[in-house]
Subunit: 411 residues, 2 copies
């Protein structure tokens, strides 16, 4: 099986200005072809570092994927260094410049002269066409090693991988590693591990990783034995039995997709009223393609006045219990359900922080309200994170509570 | 000046299941102390790879930051390998186990036995207390090299860095590198570069990076000369003159913060009505702490009925021009402004995709509506990305159009 190495080039990656999502994409991409990445080396726009990284990769990998530093500006030096590394001259390609000029024209823009350098390509490179940008991809072969050089702009790199490099990968692919990711939410990593520790040590043909995220914990199972597909199916069933309702989805399935599937299956529609989550719950619900089938309306009632005016929350409730209270959460959920005529009303009210907390109602407190037919309930959760993370956690709890309630009740 | 290297350990990073944000955080953290990261090596939970990475780091860096693989589960092997690497024995610490037990108790949970291994620490390590998790940080010194070993859970690693490792860094810090990031939106990288190419080549004491993101382009300036602060101030003024209104903020300032600052300065309130962006505009506006001072209400009117019912959009407009039209965008903006009694009404209606497009109204089309006093206008933008990216771009255009209009008009 071929081994891969990734070299990510860019000062912005070392200074922490940009998160290296390109290497993540490339890893995921290669996994589909049974090619595993052994290491990722990130270096700056610096000649000796780039050369050291390529030298290291030659030793430990057969396939080397290099991204970054191919742009038209002064700090893009990768192409010159790579050309030198492979004893190659830069040659001007008229047709590439025409393509670039065309690309600007279609966007209604003039091409600036800085793009002329983008049409200079090392003569020993096989050009890999970039349909969405000015920096061409390049392929170099040396002995039994193959080097792919791509721009660092994620969108452009991804198109070059899917349009062109995928063809090379298909030919190389031997073993397919099958993987299955099981997503859970609502149980800490160590407790989850205790529940399945014995099961894990019994497994002979499956590798298992436990990945804690701040809103959820993933279990990743992988296997490369010939009948791995059916072995993973059995594992999935066994783990589902052990873990129960904390499992919300598999592989690319998000919590909002899991909620969507239940709503569609039950032919129910939903409306949402948010305070502290500020629109994040509806944003997540509408990230699902086709969400207009069940999601009708959301309101973000940030001020007390809007809670009364739009959602018909009782001013006495607000005065007696406060905006952050089980009572207000319930009235908000009921209010948006009545306003919209939907089957389900979901609400959030809490304190995301960093200000506005008290001893009794600290930052990180949220009440989630849920209204369906004659059912009206509220749920309390507490967290200790920053504003953005608290909003994420609040929205996670709201969507998960909705999932659990719909799942448990046969409405 | 000390050089740093980062080793990120975890199969999940090589398989693409998790994005390596830890190395980004550490890089940003060290930059404040004038310590620059030379390289980042990412390897799997694999003994020989981990040892090779540490060996490589010893050669090229003085400070080595290692994260990942310290959890309580079977795939966490870093501690054992590190102990062996430093000829160190694992020793049980009663007080650490007590701390861990306490931590579970405060969260209202029982500690599972798998946590006992978390109280085993290599005897040559200096323990770095982890106040928010079970995996302790560790520090090893060998010759003039220092190794920091931390858990891979971002929240825990960050607390160990800020609470403890920061003290070491303060002592090491010699030169302070000053940096300034200038955020722009609405102009492609190559066009922006053409505007400032001559200016860049004139700079002797400032380094400049151009970082294209899919919603915006950043300019990063850095300098380590003694009066770098005033030099960067001059550069900031000069670039502002050259780039004009495409500059929306500096350093940690987001577009939504820039909008917030203008609204606060002008003492204006805002309400938002969204269709295709599904709550993302209000989510972004409420990510700003203190947003309740100017943000009153948001509505996500996904269905045509809710546009009519809540926002008083004319059914004839919907029928004649469609939901995705300049006319509907304007009526939505006006509607939410009237409903809320706010000074500004902002709206979005478009097609995020992947379905629902036509030749006339393709996926990626959005109309942004803006209503203020007697002003009522709509703005059209087109993109070619996927659903999630289109939503991001749509929200960026809406917030930026709001910023530009408020900036240009003296209302």
């Amino acid at each position: 099986m071929k081994n891969a190495g990734i070299i990510s080039i860019g000062n912005e990656l070392l200074s922490g200005q940009v998160v290296n999502t390109n290497s993540t994409y490339i890893s995921q991409f290669l996994k589909r072809y049974g090619i595993s990445v052994n290491f990722i080396i990130t270096v700056g726009d610096d000649k000796s570092s780039i050369i050291q990284a390529i030298d290291a990769c030659r030793i430990h990998a057969d396939l080397i994927y290099i991204t970054g530093g191919l742009g038209p500006t002064h700090d893009d030096i990768t192409k010159t260094i790579i050309a030198e590394y492979f004893n190659s001259k830069l040659v001007f390609h008229e047709d590439i410049l025409d393509d670039i000029r065309d690309m600007f024209r279609r966007r209604g823009k003039e091409m600036s002269d800085s793009n002329i350098s983008q049409a200079m390509i090392p003569d020993k490179a096989e050009i890999i066409h970039n349909p969405v940008g000015t920096a061409q991809g390049m392929k170099f072969k040396q002995e039994d090693k193959t080097f792919y050089v791509m721009p660092g702009v994620p969108f452009e790199m991804e198109r070059i991988m899917t349009d062109s490099i995928s063809k090379d990968m298909e030919q190389l692919s031997e073993t397919r590693i099958n993987t299955l990711t099981i997503h859970t939410t609502g149980m800490p990593e160590s407790e989850l591990y205790s529940k399945i520790e014995d099961w894990i040590s019994d497994q002979k043909q499956i590798g298992i990783s436990i990945l804690p995220h701040f809103t959820h914990v993933d279990l990743v199972l992988y296997s490369d034995v010939p009948d791995s597909f059916s072995i993973l199916s059995v594992a999935k069933r066994e783990l589902n039995e052990k873990l129960g309702e904390i499992v919300y989805g598999y592989d690319d399935e998000t919590l909002e997709m899991a909620v969507a599937n239940i709503l569609i299956e039950k032919k129910m529609t939903i409306a949402v009223s948010e305070s502290c989550t500020g629109g994040l719950i509806t944003d997540r619900l509408t990230n699902v393609s086709g969400s207009s089938a069940y999601f009708m309306m959301g309101v973000v009632t940030y001020s007390n006045e809007s809670k009364v005016q739009i959602l018909n929350v009782d001013p006495v409730t607000l005065k007696r219990h406060g905006a952050v209270s089980p009572e207000t959460a319930k009235e908000m959920a009921l209010g948006v359900r009545k306003l919209s005529g939907c089957d389900v009303g979901l609400s959030s009210t809490g304190i995301a922080g960093p200000f506005g907390g008290s001893n009794e109602k600290p930052v990180g407190l949220v009440h989630v309200g849920l209204s369906m037919n004659n059912y009206l309930e509220s749920f309390e959760f507490r967290f200790l994170r920053d504003r953005i993370m608290n909003k994420q956690l609040f929205s996670q709890m709201a969507l998960n509570q909705l999932r659990l309630t719909l799942f448990r009740r046969s409405i």
